[in-house]
Amino acid sequence: MSEFAFWMVAALTIISAGLVVFSGQLIYSAVALLFTLLGVAGLYVFLWADFMAGVQVMVYIGGILVLIVFGIMLTHKIVSVKISQTNVQRRIGGFAAGLFLVILISAMGSASWFMEVTPEPVETVRTIGILLMTKYLLPFEAASLLLLGALIGAAMLSRKEN
């Protein structure tokens, strides 16, 4: 059952990711991105990362996606939303991406992965919290600085008058 669910989620992720890239209208891309992000959250669950799944939904869907949709609405009239993207670089892009994919997969296949068998964790949040407060304290504080920088930078940028 869960095997089946896993493949469903994986398929959802990949198909909608394809839509994100290939859809003609930007707003449809954004909607497809919603499902991709959901799918990734689902994959996190399969990886026992429930907290990460929550974060994924909260930040990506509730935050970044909303921001992207706003961005689309701010910069687009319907006319330009409907116009599909240019195909000039499609061939080169497709080639590069395909090449990359092949390389990645062959690398994946050639390596032999060591897999530890671990029991399902009880509460990931607690561990994450402790790790954040101890081992990763510095990146944690740095993150706040990063956020501060992003906030000030973005606010300044969008305040700049033409």
């Binding site: 689902g42 429930d50 907290f51 935050g63 970044i64 687009h76 949040v125 906030l151």
Partner: protein, 138 residues
């Protein structure tokens, strides 16, 4: 863990079905007389001038932007809150620094009036502001 999230998946599917079924019933029993006028966009009875799909004002965007930063902050607070009692003062101070840095950000956008919807100019008067004028279009 799988079971709980499987429940959610199933519930989501169920939710879709539950929306779908009444719509189907409606399709069956509701009348449907389409006409050109009926399918027109509603605008208080007037002819619509222009599409609603146009570039909207940026104000909402700024809100979303500030929101995003604080959203991430909340995300960080959750794991901290869980271990807060365990780690005691240390965690408190650490998070204090984190928060203070972000509060600086908040104060910054507040002072720079990024949180205000429109910047209103006081032209003259005795009240809090007398004649309110929008900033000039640049």
């Amino acid at each position: 863990m799988y079971r709980d999230f499987g429940t959610i998946l199933l519930a989501a599917l169920l939710g879709i079905v539950m929306v779908f079924v009444p719509l189907l019933v409606q399709k069956l029993i509701a009348p449907s007389k389409k006409s050109r006028e009926k399918l027109d966009t509603y605008e208080c009875g007037e002819e619509v001038e222009g599409s609603a799909w146009l570039q909207f004002n940026i104000r909402f965007y700024i809100i979303a932007l500030i929101f995003l930063i604080f959203d991430v902050e909340v995300v960080f607070l959750f794991p901290w809150a869980v271990v807060f009692k365990e780690l005691g003062l240390l965690a408190f101070v650490e998070m204090g620094i984190f928060l203070v840095i972000l509060i600086v950000g908040l104060a910054y956008v507040w002072v720079k009036t990024d949180l205000d919807w429109v910047k209103l100019k006081v032209a003259y008067g005795s009240g809090r502001y007398r004649k309110i004028k929008l900033e000039e279009k640049v």
